[in-house]
Symmetry: C2
Subunit: 410 residues, 2 copies
């Protein structure tokens, strides 16, 4: 089934916001076996929205639209949809009730603009939006589907997860079962991994696909199987996962499709251990990544961003002699940072980074991108030297991820 | 002049990457007065790319394409372009020389795939790509322009900044001069700011536009003037900026269109002062934001992420009595954190945050979104209470920005 996404919003066309909605939707649709062939962004202009709908409905089986349904703009989009589907606006008392309930919860009065949101095209099926006032509209015409959703990410995600994806999943299921498994791999470049797995890929059953999703030193390796016989598919999936582990060994640091910080958090929680961070070149990015996860205060005690050498020695207790002899970017220093922050923050485990993020500060000996990382897990400490690239942003990302992965070796 | 952007790439359609290229291009084009009417993403499929080009060239004056020019894929895109522009591929020795130079610099040998990149359509003007092997191709047909660029962000940005934007700017200049000025505003919601400025907007000369670009508690207010008389325009701009300052006073924390962390850094550098951070609810996000800026080590000594109360007292010296009496999210605690981290990191200035990021941990007294922030500038300390929202991600962002802005009051 061919799917298109249409995003309506002037704010995207002037570059005010990045269209992250489409990427999220594409990922979710892909997961359930949808085939996205085009993403189009147009402004709040009747003729542009209409021409985008015409073209998308002629090419694809399913069209998902976001945006243009806010209280000040909804007449436009709803009128365009009425026109396209030969429909007219009628009052929907359930939508009105949903809006009343939301407003009562928030303790504010409803205005006339919001009242308009209870008007819906008579040929659409209304899908209730429990987290916002604009209803989601589901249209069908000549075997094709168009769904119009609000563009507010929270509302779009709620509607997609709770309502749209399950319906589409049922629709797709008529074409068979879909199974996914994601392994997260480190220590490989994308091309080196593809080479390592080339025989594996060639031997895979035809009903399976392997996708490489690389980001800043981590490759998410997603196996997807499609077929009519669920039991067979599951057996094949199990065997393929086993074989991947056999080929890649310790390079697979997780079999769950979760953010790295959540994987670290789950292991610490399971082992009932606490954690802290000592960061130089990553400048707080690891602590920030760890604390993005709700509930991280249960295992994260805190951290020290020891940017200057004096903070490294005075707060973390790194030997000033070693700082002089080996430099801040060195094995002895990063090891002492990890041990020091564990002591200072009273934690069982820790990670420490020290490197040259760039763009300046590199030497012939230690060029930009040189990063030492240490991980302490209870009494064990492991240290490792990395050579990343020239971009400061990328080096910080790579080093942060490497810092999250390193405890995996202990 | 109507502009469209076409992005070619399967990786966007499967949600593997977010299309940040388009947002960046849209912002740059908007700045020089371009009017982007549509952004289209298609996969590496000949018929889809061709139909996207046909439609865009029929609607718009300028079409900018990115992607599909890599060594393994360039035949496809180049052939489509040859077909559309009735052109044929010829060998370009300057492109070949550019590729040779790049490979020599990187110390690697050229393979046959890369050699193909020296083939270019004879009806295109070649714009040399000094940071990558795929050349940029500029076509003109019936008064319309199509530019094909590689999709690698670094290469696209280099080509846009160095080559394409200056050319388009010249083209647009025939329609008059464009002036911009950006004020960065805090302490207002977008709607409150629009209300405050409604008389100002009504009275603005017709040749001026005001754009609101809000993000996590900061509104970038961009004044744009277009006209034929440059001197008049400059005078009008000056008067408008003065009036904005008159109306908004201290709520304008910068007249430069720079990231917040860079504004903080510039002030510290100018005053020759050092800085440190003590973070609870922001969990390292402020330190991370500060250290994203190249050269920040000149003024940033370091920071402490005091997530647990015990780190607050043992490392930063916050009174355990105050932690018990007032709680971690309180004025006395956040003040002591700011003073403490300045002492511990030996810095002249500091910022401290303590709040409830959510989703859990709120009470009737201090609901999720309650954040205390302190800023210390030399001997002065200011503290302030904020009430943000329910989303953890948003609360961390808002609190980080507020932490960056608060020193502005000292």
């Amino acid at each position: 089934m061919k799917i298109e996404i249409i995003t309506i919003g002037d704010e995207i066309l002037i570059g005010q916001i990045v269209d992250t909605n489409s990427a999220w939707m594409a990922q979710e649709l892909n997961r359930i076996g949808g085939d996205i062939i085009r993403i189009t962004t147009v402004g709040d202009v009747v003729s542009d929205v209409r021409s985008a709908i015409d073209a998308a409905m002629s090419r694809s089986d399913i069209v998902l639209m976001t945006g243009g349904l806010g209280p000040t703009k909804d007449d436009m989009t709803k009128n365009i949809l009425c026109d396209y589907f030969d429909s007219r606006l009628i009052f929907d008392k359930d939508v009105k009730q949903n809006i009343d309930d939301l407003f009562a919860k928030r303790g504010i009065a409803m205005n006339i603009l919001t009242e308009n949101q209870a008007l819906v095209p008579d040929k659409s099926r209304v899908i209730m939006n429990r987290v916002g006032t604009a209803p989601c509209l589901w249209f069908e015409k000549e075997g094709k589907i168009l769904v119009a959703m609000p563009g507010v990410p929270l509302e779009m995600k709620w509607l997609m997860s709770q309502e749209i994806i399950p319906r589409l999943e049922n629709l797709f299921r008529e074409n068979g079962t879909i199974l996914h498994h994601t392994c997260q791999v480190c220590d490989y470049s994308e091309s080196a991994l593809a080479e390592k797995l080339s025989a594996f890929e060639t031997a895979m059953p035809a009903s399976f696909k392997l996708a490489y999703l690389p980001k800043a030193g981590v490759i998410r390796l997603r196996l997807t199987g499609k077929g009519l016989e669920a039991t067979l598919l599951e057996q094949q999936m199990k065997a393929l996962i086993q074989e991947l582990h056999h080929i890649l060994g310790g390079a697979i640091f997780s079999d769950e499709d979760l953010p790295l910080a959540q994987i670290v958090g789950k292991r610490l929680s399971a082992d009932n251990l606490s954690f802290s961070t000592a960061e130089s070149c990553t400048g707080g990015a690891i602590a920030s990544m760890i604390t993005e996860i709700p509930g991280s205060s249960a295992y994260f005690n805190g951290g020290v961003v020891s940017y200057s050498n004096s903070v490294k020695s005075s707060v973390l207790g790194v030997s000033t002699q070693d700082l002089t002899d080996f430099g801040a970017v060195s094995e002895p220093v990063v090891r002492q940072m990890a041990i020091g922050v564990s002591r200072v923050c009273g934690s069982d485990c820790s990670v420490a980074t020290s490197g040259i993020a760039g763009p300046d500060g590199g030497t012939a000996d230690k060029p930009v991108g040189t990063v030492w990382i240490a991980a302490k897990y209870k009494e064990q400490v492991v240290t490792r030297l990395y050579h990343f690239g020239k971009s400061r942003e990328f080096n910080i990302q790579r080093a942060s991820n490497a810092g999250g992965i390193l405890p995996h070796y202990l």
